[in-house]
Amino acid sequence: MKKIYSFKESYVFSNILKKGREILEKNGYRFLRLPSFDTDTLKRKFISVLNTRDDEVIFLRSDFTYQIIKHFDALSDIDLPLRIYYEGSLFDPDFEDFEIYQIGFELIGVEDIEGDFEIIYCLYEIFKSININDFILVISNPSFIEKVISARNIDRNKVENLLKKKNIGRLRKEFGNGSFIEKLIFMQGKREIIDEALCEFPEGEEELIKINKLIDKLEQNNISHYIIDLSDIKRLPYYNGITFEIFMENSGYAVASGGRYDGIYREGIPATGGAVYVDNIIKLMK
Protein backbone atom coordinates (compact mmCIF):
# COMPACT_ATOMS: atom_id res chain seq x y z
CA MET A 1 0.00 0.00 0.00
CA LYS A 2 1.06 3.53 -0.61
CA LYS A 3 3.13 5.03 2.16
CA ILE A 4 2.11 8.31 3.71
CA TYR A 5 4.39 11.13 2.59
CA SER A 6 6.44 13.05 5.16
CA PHE A 7 5.64 16.74 5.80
CA LYS A 8 8.62 17.67 3.60
CA GLU A 9 7.46 15.44 0.74
CA SER A 10 3.89 16.66 1.18
CA TYR A 11 5.09 20.26 0.95
CA VAL A 12 6.92 19.52 -2.33
CA PHE A 13 3.82 17.67 -3.56
CA SER A 14 1.48 20.58 -2.82
CA ASN A 15 3.96 23.06 -4.29
CA ILE A 16 3.98 21.17 -7.62
CA LEU A 17 0.18 21.30 -7.67
CA LYS A 18 0.16 24.99 -6.73
CA LYS A 19 2.64 25.94 -9.48
CA GLY A 20 0.86 23.70 -11.98
CA ARG A 21 -2.51 25.32 -11.26
CA GLU A 22 -1.01 28.83 -11.48
CA ILE A 23 0.61 28.18 -14.86
CA LEU A 24 -2.40 26.46 -16.35
CA GLU A 25 -4.80 29.17 -15.19
CA LYS A 26 -2.44 31.85 -16.51
CA ASN A 27 -2.63 30.10 -19.91
CA GLY A 28 -6.43 30.08 -19.88
CA TYR A 29 -7.14 26.54 -18.59
CA ARG A 30 -10.25 26.17 -16.41
CA PHE A 31 -10.47 23.70 -13.55
CA LEU A 32 -12.91 20.82 -13.91
CA ARG A 33 -13.69 18.67 -10.88
CA LEU A 34 -13.98 15.03 -11.88
CA PRO A 35 -15.45 12.15 -9.82
CA SER A 36 -13.32 9.35 -8.33
CA PHE A 37 -15.81 6.68 -9.39
CA ASP A 38 -16.94 5.61 -12.82
CA THR A 39 -19.54 3.25 -14.16
CA ASP A 40 -17.50 2.59 -17.29
CA THR A 41 -13.88 2.82 -18.38
CA LEU A 42 -11.76 2.86 -21.54
CA LYS A 43 -9.08 0.75 -19.93
CA ARG A 44 -8.91 -3.01 -19.85
CA LYS A 45 -7.71 -3.16 -16.24
CA PHE A 46 -9.43 -1.41 -13.38
CA ILE A 47 -10.16 -1.65 -9.68
CA SER A 48 -13.81 -2.34 -9.01
CA VAL A 49 -15.73 -1.68 -5.82
CA LEU A 50 -19.09 -3.10 -4.79
CA ASN A 51 -21.43 -0.23 -4.12
CA THR A 52 -23.41 -1.62 -1.20
CA ARG A 53 -25.95 1.20 -1.37
CA ASP A 54 -27.26 0.25 -4.81
CA ASP A 55 -25.81 -3.26 -5.00
CA GLU A 56 -23.90 -2.49 -8.21
CA VAL A 57 -20.24 -2.66 -9.19
CA ILE A 58 -18.50 0.65 -9.81
CA PHE A 59 -14.91 1.42 -10.80
CA LEU A 60 -12.26 3.64 -9.34
CA ARG A 61 -11.39 5.87 -12.29
CA SER A 62 -8.44 4.59 -14.33
CA ASP A 63 -8.46 7.30 -16.99
CA PHE A 64 -9.51 10.95 -16.90
CA THR A 65 -10.04 11.19 -20.65
CA TYR A 66 -13.13 9.01 -20.55
CA GLN A 67 -14.71 11.27 -17.93
CA ILE A 68 -13.99 14.35 -20.03
CA ILE A 69 -15.53 12.68 -23.09
CA LYS A 70 -18.72 12.20 -21.05
CA HIS A 71 -18.58 15.80 -19.87
CA PHE A 72 -18.10 16.97 -23.45
CA ASP A 73 -20.98 14.78 -24.67
CA ALA A 74 -23.31 16.43 -22.18
CA LEU A 75 -22.62 19.89 -23.58
CA SER A 76 -24.64 20.85 -26.62
CA ASP A 77 -23.07 24.24 -27.18
CA ILE A 78 -19.33 24.67 -26.75
CA ASP A 79 -17.04 27.54 -27.56
CA LEU A 80 -13.81 26.20 -28.98
CA PRO A 81 -10.98 26.13 -28.20
CA LEU A 82 -11.74 24.67 -24.81
CA ARG A 83 -8.99 24.54 -22.19
CA ILE A 84 -9.58 22.27 -19.20
CA TYR A 85 -7.43 21.11 -16.32
CA TYR A 86 -8.12 18.61 -13.57
CA GLU A 87 -6.26 16.74 -10.89
CA GLY A 88 -6.52 13.66 -8.71
CA SER A 89 -5.51 10.02 -8.44
CA LEU A 90 -5.85 7.45 -11.17
CA PHE A 91 -6.29 3.86 -10.01
CA ASP A 92 -4.96 0.80 -11.77
CA PRO A 93 -3.96 -2.65 -10.48
CA ASP A 94 -0.76 -2.39 -12.55
CA PHE A 95 0.44 0.74 -10.78
CA GLU A 96 3.10 0.09 -8.17
CA ASP A 97 0.94 1.51 -5.36
CA PHE A 98 -2.41 1.05 -7.16
CA GLU A 99 -2.73 4.82 -7.66
CA ILE A 100 -0.84 7.71 -9.17
CA TYR A 101 -1.65 11.38 -8.67
CA GLN A 102 -1.62 13.63 -11.68
CA ILE A 103 -2.45 17.14 -12.76
CA GLY A 104 -3.63 16.94 -16.33
CA PHE A 105 -4.92 19.30 -18.97
CA GLU A 106 -6.68 19.13 -22.32
CA LEU A 107 -6.73 21.51 -25.24
CA ILE A 108 -9.75 20.84 -27.41
CA GLY A 109 -10.22 22.54 -30.77
CA VAL A 110 -6.64 23.53 -31.67
CA GLU A 111 -5.04 21.72 -34.58
CA ASP A 112 -1.64 20.14 -35.04
CA ILE A 113 1.51 22.02 -34.13
CA GLU A 114 -0.12 24.99 -32.40
CA GLY A 115 -1.87 22.69 -29.95
CA ASP A 116 1.04 20.29 -29.47
CA PHE A 117 3.39 23.18 -28.80
CA GLU A 118 1.05 24.82 -26.30
CA ILE A 119 0.78 21.63 -24.24
CA ILE A 120 4.54 21.01 -24.26
CA TYR A 121 5.26 24.64 -23.42
CA CYS A 122 2.89 24.54 -20.44
CA LEU A 123 4.72 21.45 -19.15
CA TYR A 124 8.04 23.19 -19.74
CA GLU A 125 6.84 26.17 -17.69
CA ILE A 126 5.59 23.90 -14.89
CA PHE A 127 8.93 22.07 -14.65
CA LYS A 128 10.87 25.33 -14.73
CA SER A 129 8.69 26.72 -11.95
CA ILE A 130 9.58 23.81 -9.66
CA ASN A 131 13.28 24.12 -10.52
CA ILE A 132 13.55 21.01 -12.66
CA ASN A 133 15.64 22.05 -15.62
CA ASP A 134 17.58 18.91 -16.51
CA PHE A 135 14.72 16.88 -17.94
CA ILE A 136 14.68 15.12 -21.30
CA LEU A 137 11.73 15.69 -23.61
CA VAL A 138 11.15 12.70 -25.89
CA ILE A 139 9.00 13.47 -28.92
CA SER A 140 7.38 10.71 -30.96
CA ASN A 141 4.69 10.23 -33.54
CA PRO A 142 3.27 6.70 -33.35
CA SER A 143 1.26 7.35 -36.54
CA PHE A 144 4.61 7.30 -38.36
CA ILE A 145 5.33 3.73 -37.29
CA GLU A 146 1.75 2.68 -38.05
CA LYS A 147 2.18 3.90 -41.64
CA VAL A 148 5.56 2.17 -42.02
CA ILE A 149 4.15 -1.13 -40.78
CA SER A 150 0.96 -1.00 -42.83
CA ALA A 151 2.94 -0.16 -45.99
CA ARG A 152 4.79 -3.45 -45.55
CA ASN A 153 1.91 -5.80 -45.01
CA ILE A 154 3.27 -7.12 -41.73
CA ASP A 155 1.22 -8.48 -38.87
CA ARG A 156 1.18 -5.56 -36.43
CA ASN A 157 0.54 -7.80 -33.43
CA LYS A 158 3.63 -9.82 -34.24
CA VAL A 159 5.97 -6.84 -34.04
CA GLU A 160 4.18 -4.65 -31.49
CA ASN A 161 5.63 -6.20 -28.34
CA LEU A 162 9.07 -6.64 -29.90
CA LEU A 163 9.09 -2.94 -30.80
CA LYS A 164 7.82 -1.93 -27.35
CA LYS A 165 10.56 -3.95 -25.64
CA LYS A 166 13.16 -3.05 -28.30
CA ASN A 167 13.87 -6.76 -28.59
CA ILE A 168 16.53 -6.57 -31.26
CA GLY A 169 17.63 -10.17 -30.62
CA ARG A 170 14.23 -11.62 -31.59
CA LEU A 171 13.71 -9.15 -34.44
CA ARG A 172 17.04 -10.13 -35.98
CA LYS A 173 16.04 -13.78 -35.76
CA GLU A 174 12.65 -13.07 -37.38
CA PHE A 175 13.63 -10.50 -40.03
CA GLY A 176 17.42 -10.87 -40.39
CA ASN A 177 20.19 -8.35 -39.87
CA GLY A 178 19.53 -4.72 -40.87
CA SER A 179 15.79 -5.14 -41.54
CA PHE A 180 13.48 -2.12 -41.68
CA ILE A 181 12.24 -2.97 -38.17
CA GLU A 182 15.79 -2.88 -36.85
CA LYS A 183 16.31 0.52 -38.48
CA LEU A 184 13.11 1.73 -36.79
CA ILE A 185 14.24 0.56 -33.35
CA PHE A 186 17.39 2.67 -33.54
CA MET A 187 15.75 5.84 -34.86
CA GLN A 188 16.42 8.30 -32.06
CA GLY A 189 18.26 11.58 -32.26
CA LYS A 190 18.00 15.26 -33.03
CA ARG A 191 16.59 16.77 -36.20
CA GLU A 192 18.95 14.78 -38.49
CA ILE A 193 16.99 11.62 -37.66
CA ILE A 194 14.02 13.08 -39.58
CA ASP A 195 16.08 13.37 -42.79
CA GLU A 196 17.32 9.82 -42.30
CA ALA A 197 13.75 8.58 -41.76
CA LEU A 198 12.50 10.47 -44.84
CA CYS A 199 15.02 8.59 -47.00
CA GLU A 200 14.26 5.19 -45.46
CA PHE A 201 10.52 5.54 -44.95
CA PRO A 202 9.00 8.08 -47.37
CA GLU A 203 5.52 6.68 -46.62
CA GLY A 204 5.76 8.41 -43.22
CA GLU A 205 6.53 11.86 -44.69
CA GLU A 206 3.36 13.57 -43.47
CA GLU A 207 4.02 12.51 -39.86
CA LEU A 208 7.71 13.42 -40.04
CA ILE A 209 6.88 16.90 -41.31
CA LYS A 210 4.67 17.42 -38.26
CA ILE A 211 7.58 16.59 -35.95
CA ASN A 212 9.87 18.88 -37.93
CA LYS A 213 7.45 21.81 -37.57
CA LEU A 214 7.11 21.18 -33.84
CA ILE A 215 10.91 21.14 -33.44
CA ASP A 216 11.11 24.49 -35.31
CA LYS A 217 8.65 25.95 -32.85
CA LEU A 218 10.39 24.46 -29.79
CA GLU A 219 13.79 25.75 -30.90
CA GLN A 220 12.35 29.22 -31.60
CA ASN A 221 11.30 29.20 -27.96
CA ASN A 222 14.68 28.01 -26.66
CA ILE A 223 13.62 24.44 -25.84
CA SER A 224 16.56 22.44 -27.12
CA HIS A 225 16.85 19.46 -24.75
CA TYR A 226 14.59 17.21 -26.78
CA ILE A 227 15.18 13.84 -28.43
CA ILE A 228 13.05 12.51 -31.29
CA ASP A 229 12.19 8.83 -30.91
CA LEU A 230 10.65 7.42 -34.07
CA SER A 231 10.53 3.89 -32.66
CA ASP A 232 7.75 4.68 -30.20
CA ILE A 233 4.47 2.91 -30.73
CA LYS A 234 1.12 3.92 -29.28
CA ARG A 235 1.03 3.94 -25.50
CA LEU A 236 -2.71 4.58 -25.50
CA PRO A 237 -5.02 3.26 -28.21
CA TYR A 238 -6.57 6.67 -28.95
CA TYR A 239 -3.36 8.57 -29.75
CA ASN A 240 -3.25 9.60 -33.41
CA GLY A 241 -0.57 12.28 -33.72
CA ILE A 242 2.45 13.62 -31.91
CA THR A 243 3.06 12.17 -28.45
CA PHE A 244 5.69 13.06 -25.89
CA GLU A 245 7.14 11.98 -22.56
CA ILE A 246 9.31 13.88 -20.11
CA PHE A 247 11.98 12.01 -18.16
CA MET A 248 14.47 13.02 -15.52
CA GLU A 249 17.94 11.52 -15.80
CA ASN A 250 18.70 8.36 -13.82
CA SER A 251 15.11 7.21 -13.79
CA GLY A 252 13.09 4.78 -15.82
CA TYR A 253 9.65 6.30 -15.77
CA ALA A 254 8.10 9.44 -17.16
CA VAL A 255 7.33 12.44 -14.95
CA ALA A 256 4.96 13.83 -17.58
CA SER A 257 3.49 12.68 -20.85
CA GLY A 258 0.77 13.41 -23.34
CA GLY A 259 -0.27 13.35 -26.94
CA ARG A 260 -2.77 14.15 -29.65
CA TYR A 261 -6.05 12.32 -30.02
CA ASP A 262 -8.08 14.13 -32.64
CA GLY A 263 -11.69 13.08 -32.96
CA ILE A 264 -11.99 11.45 -29.55
CA TYR A 265 -14.42 14.06 -28.18
CA ARG A 266 -16.41 14.59 -31.33
CA GLU A 267 -15.69 13.72 -34.95
CA GLY A 268 -13.55 16.34 -36.65
CA ILE A 269 -12.59 18.12 -33.43
CA PRO A 270 -8.84 18.19 -32.79
CA ALA A 271 -7.61 17.55 -29.26
CA THR A 272 -4.39 17.14 -27.38
CA GLY A 273 -3.46 16.88 -23.72
CA GLY A 274 -0.74 16.32 -21.17
CA ALA A 275 -0.27 15.33 -17.54
CA VAL A 276 2.31 15.70 -14.80
CA TYR A 277 2.80 12.60 -12.62
CA VAL A 278 3.33 14.20 -9.24
CA ASP A 279 4.16 10.97 -7.34
CA ASN A 280 6.94 10.13 -9.82
CA ILE A 281 8.53 13.55 -9.32
CA ILE A 282 8.51 13.12 -5.53
CA LYS A 283 10.16 9.70 -5.94
CA LEU A 284 12.96 11.20 -8.02
CA MET A 285 13.50 14.31 -5.93
CA LYS A 286 14.88 12.34 -2.99
Binding site: K166, I168, F247, N250, S251, Y253
Partner: protein
Amino acid sequence: MKLTCALPKGRLFEESVNLLIGKGILRERIEEGRKLVIEKGNLRMILAKPFDVPVYVEEGVADIGIVGRDVLLEKKPRVYEFGDLGIGKCTIVVAGKEADREKYKTSPYIRVATKYPNLTKSFFEKKNVKASIIHLNGSVELAPILGLSDYIVDLVQTGRTLRENNLAIIEEIGESTGVLIGNRVSFIAKREFIVDIIHKLFSI
Protein backbone atom coordinates in the same frame (compact mmCIF):
# COMPACT_ATOMS: atom_id res chain seq x y z
CA MET B 1 30.79 8.93 -19.98
CA LYS B 2 30.46 5.73 -17.96
CA LEU B 3 27.96 2.97 -18.50
CA THR B 4 26.69 1.03 -15.50
CA CYS B 5 25.86 -2.63 -15.99
CA ALA B 6 24.13 -4.77 -13.34
CA LEU B 7 25.31 -8.39 -13.37
CA PRO B 8 23.57 -11.22 -11.49
CA LYS B 9 25.61 -13.00 -8.86
CA GLY B 10 25.41 -16.80 -8.82
CA ARG B 11 24.28 -19.07 -11.64
CA LEU B 12 24.52 -16.56 -14.51
CA PHE B 13 27.58 -14.60 -13.39
CA GLU B 14 30.39 -16.67 -14.92
CA GLU B 15 28.63 -17.06 -18.28
CA SER B 16 27.79 -13.32 -18.37
CA VAL B 17 31.43 -12.37 -17.81
CA ASN B 18 32.60 -14.88 -20.44
CA LEU B 19 30.12 -13.45 -22.94
CA LEU B 20 31.13 -9.83 -22.28
CA ILE B 21 34.82 -10.75 -22.66
CA GLY B 22 34.16 -12.87 -25.76
CA LYS B 23 32.32 -10.01 -27.48
CA GLY B 24 35.04 -7.49 -26.62
CA ILE B 25 32.85 -5.45 -24.24
CA LEU B 26 34.84 -6.30 -21.12
CA ARG B 27 38.63 -6.35 -21.42
CA GLU B 28 39.59 -8.21 -18.23
CA ARG B 29 38.01 -10.97 -16.21
CA ILE B 30 36.20 -9.97 -13.04
CA GLU B 31 35.58 -12.28 -10.12
CA GLU B 32 32.51 -12.73 -7.98
CA GLY B 33 33.66 -11.75 -4.51
CA ARG B 34 32.94 -9.27 -1.78
CA LYS B 35 33.48 -6.24 -4.00
CA LEU B 36 30.07 -5.25 -5.34
CA VAL B 37 31.02 -2.34 -7.60
CA ILE B 38 33.85 -2.95 -10.06
CA GLU B 39 35.09 -0.35 -12.56
CA LYS B 40 36.88 -1.40 -15.75
CA GLY B 41 37.55 1.40 -18.22
CA ASN B 42 34.29 3.14 -19.02
CA LEU B 43 32.20 0.25 -17.67
CA ARG B 44 31.01 0.17 -14.08
CA MET B 45 29.66 -3.17 -12.98
CA ILE B 46 27.25 -3.71 -10.11
CA LEU B 47 27.14 -7.26 -8.79
CA ALA B 48 23.61 -7.81 -7.53
CA LYS B 49 21.26 -10.60 -6.52
CA PRO B 50 19.43 -11.84 -9.65
CA PHE B 51 16.04 -10.56 -8.45
CA ASP B 52 17.54 -7.11 -7.80
CA VAL B 53 19.09 -6.63 -11.27
CA PRO B 54 15.84 -5.39 -12.92
CA VAL B 55 15.23 -3.09 -9.93
CA TYR B 56 18.58 -1.34 -10.44
CA VAL B 57 17.93 -1.01 -14.17
CA GLU B 58 14.31 0.14 -13.83
CA GLU B 59 15.23 2.80 -11.28
CA GLY B 60 18.12 4.09 -13.42
CA VAL B 61 20.91 3.13 -11.01
CA ALA B 62 22.19 0.83 -13.77
CA ASP B 63 21.88 1.58 -17.50
CA ILE B 64 21.82 -2.03 -18.63
CA GLY B 65 21.80 -5.44 -16.97
CA ILE B 66 21.80 -9.17 -17.52
CA VAL B 67 19.03 -11.17 -15.91
CA GLY B 68 17.27 -14.52 -16.33
CA ARG B 69 13.95 -14.61 -18.20
CA ASP B 70 12.50 -16.27 -15.06
CA VAL B 71 13.11 -13.06 -13.07
CA LEU B 72 11.54 -10.91 -15.81
CA LEU B 73 8.44 -13.12 -15.91
CA GLU B 74 8.14 -12.83 -12.14
CA LYS B 75 8.80 -9.11 -11.70
CA LYS B 76 7.58 -7.65 -15.02
CA PRO B 77 9.82 -4.57 -14.75
CA ARG B 78 9.38 -1.51 -16.99
CA VAL B 79 12.64 -2.02 -18.89
CA TYR B 80 13.67 -2.68 -22.47
CA GLU B 81 14.43 -6.34 -23.21
CA PHE B 82 17.01 -6.17 -25.97
CA GLY B 83 17.10 -9.92 -26.43
CA ASP B 84 18.00 -13.40 -25.22
CA LEU B 85 21.73 -13.89 -24.83
CA GLY B 86 21.56 -17.66 -25.07
CA ILE B 87 23.41 -18.16 -21.78
CA GLY B 88 22.34 -19.95 -18.60
CA LYS B 89 19.66 -22.02 -20.31
CA CYS B 90 17.21 -23.46 -17.77
CA THR B 91 13.61 -24.63 -17.68
CA ILE B 92 10.89 -23.34 -15.37
CA VAL B 93 8.97 -26.40 -14.20
CA VAL B 94 6.28 -27.71 -11.92
CA ALA B 95 7.82 -30.57 -9.92
CA GLY B 96 6.59 -32.90 -7.24
CA LYS B 97 6.77 -36.44 -5.91
CA GLU B 98 6.39 -39.13 -8.58
CA ALA B 99 3.47 -40.52 -6.57
CA ASP B 100 1.62 -37.21 -6.93
CA ARG B 101 1.81 -37.05 -10.76
CA GLU B 102 -1.74 -38.31 -11.32
CA LYS B 103 -3.16 -36.12 -8.54
CA TYR B 104 -1.74 -33.10 -10.42
CA LYS B 105 -4.02 -33.81 -13.36
CA THR B 106 -7.17 -34.41 -11.34
CA SER B 107 -6.98 -32.10 -8.32
CA PRO B 108 -9.09 -28.92 -8.47
CA TYR B 109 -6.98 -27.43 -5.66
CA ILE B 110 -3.23 -27.70 -5.08
CA ARG B 111 -0.60 -26.12 -2.83
CA VAL B 112 2.51 -24.88 -4.61
CA ALA B 113 5.74 -23.59 -3.04
CA THR B 114 7.91 -21.30 -5.14
CA LYS B 115 10.33 -18.38 -5.41
CA TYR B 116 8.09 -17.12 -8.24
CA PRO B 117 4.64 -16.31 -6.74
CA ASN B 118 3.44 -14.04 -9.57
CA LEU B 119 4.58 -16.31 -12.38
CA THR B 120 3.05 -19.33 -10.61
CA LYS B 121 -0.25 -17.56 -9.91
CA SER B 122 -0.60 -16.49 -13.52
CA PHE B 123 0.34 -19.98 -14.83
CA PHE B 124 -2.32 -21.77 -12.77
CA GLU B 125 -4.94 -19.08 -13.36
CA LYS B 126 -4.56 -19.67 -17.10
CA LYS B 127 -5.10 -23.40 -16.48
CA ASN B 128 -8.12 -22.62 -14.28
CA VAL B 129 -6.54 -24.55 -11.41
CA LYS B 130 -7.03 -23.13 -7.94
CA ALA B 131 -3.55 -22.95 -6.43
CA SER B 132 -2.54 -21.79 -3.00
CA ILE B 133 0.89 -20.22 -3.43
CA ILE B 134 3.51 -20.50 -0.69
CA HIS B 135 6.29 -17.98 -1.25
CA LEU B 136 9.74 -19.31 -0.25
CA ASN B 137 13.11 -17.66 -0.77
CA GLY B 138 15.24 -20.78 -1.35
CA SER B 139 15.57 -24.58 -0.99
CA VAL B 140 12.09 -24.88 -2.45
CA GLU B 141 12.59 -28.66 -2.88
CA LEU B 142 12.09 -29.06 0.86
CA ALA B 143 8.44 -28.04 0.70
CA PRO B 144 6.89 -31.22 -0.80
CA ILE B 145 9.28 -33.46 1.14
CA LEU B 146 8.15 -31.96 4.45
CA GLY B 147 4.51 -31.66 3.45
CA LEU B 148 4.42 -27.87 3.23
CA SER B 149 3.18 -28.06 -0.36
CA ASP B 150 2.03 -30.61 -2.94
CA TYR B 151 4.24 -29.25 -5.73
CA ILE B 152 6.91 -26.66 -6.43
CA VAL B 153 7.54 -24.28 -9.30
CA ASP B 154 11.26 -23.79 -9.77
CA LEU B 155 14.08 -23.31 -12.24
CA VAL B 156 15.83 -26.50 -13.32
CA GLN B 157 19.16 -26.73 -15.12
CA THR B 158 20.19 -30.41 -15.02
CA GLY B 159 17.45 -31.78 -12.77
CA ARG B 160 20.05 -33.22 -10.37
CA THR B 161 18.76 -31.39 -7.27
CA LEU B 162 15.24 -32.61 -8.01
CA ARG B 163 16.41 -36.23 -8.42
CA GLU B 164 18.50 -36.12 -5.26
CA ASN B 165 15.39 -35.07 -3.37
CA ASN B 166 13.18 -37.72 -5.02
CA LEU B 167 11.23 -35.17 -7.02
CA ALA B 168 10.32 -35.31 -10.69
CA ILE B 169 9.30 -32.80 -13.36
CA ILE B 170 5.51 -32.86 -13.71
CA GLU B 171 5.06 -30.09 -16.30
CA GLU B 172 7.31 -27.62 -18.11
CA ILE B 173 6.23 -23.97 -17.95
CA GLY B 174 8.86 -22.40 -20.17
CA GLU B 175 12.49 -21.82 -20.98
CA SER B 176 14.68 -19.23 -19.32
CA THR B 177 17.96 -17.80 -20.61
CA GLY B 178 19.92 -14.67 -19.77
CA VAL B 179 18.41 -11.49 -21.24
CA LEU B 180 20.05 -8.12 -21.85
CA ILE B 181 17.82 -5.42 -20.38
CA GLY B 182 18.10 -1.64 -20.50
CA ASN B 183 16.79 1.46 -18.78
CA ARG B 184 14.41 3.53 -20.95
CA VAL B 185 16.05 6.86 -20.23
CA SER B 186 19.62 5.52 -20.57
CA PHE B 187 18.70 4.21 -24.02
CA ILE B 188 18.09 7.83 -25.00
CA ALA B 189 20.80 9.56 -22.90
CA LYS B 190 23.61 7.03 -23.52
CA ARG B 191 22.32 5.77 -26.84
CA GLU B 192 25.62 5.40 -28.74
CA PHE B 193 27.20 3.38 -25.95
CA ILE B 194 24.22 1.05 -25.54
CA VAL B 195 23.62 0.59 -29.27
CA ASP B 196 27.28 -0.42 -29.67
CA ILE B 197 26.88 -3.08 -26.97
CA ILE B 198 23.64 -4.34 -28.53
CA HIS B 199 25.32 -4.70 -31.94
CA LYS B 200 28.23 -6.61 -30.40
CA LEU B 201 25.99 -8.96 -28.43
CA PHE B 202 23.39 -9.69 -31.10
CA SER B 203 25.39 -9.75 -34.31
CA ILE B 204 24.34 -12.73 -36.39
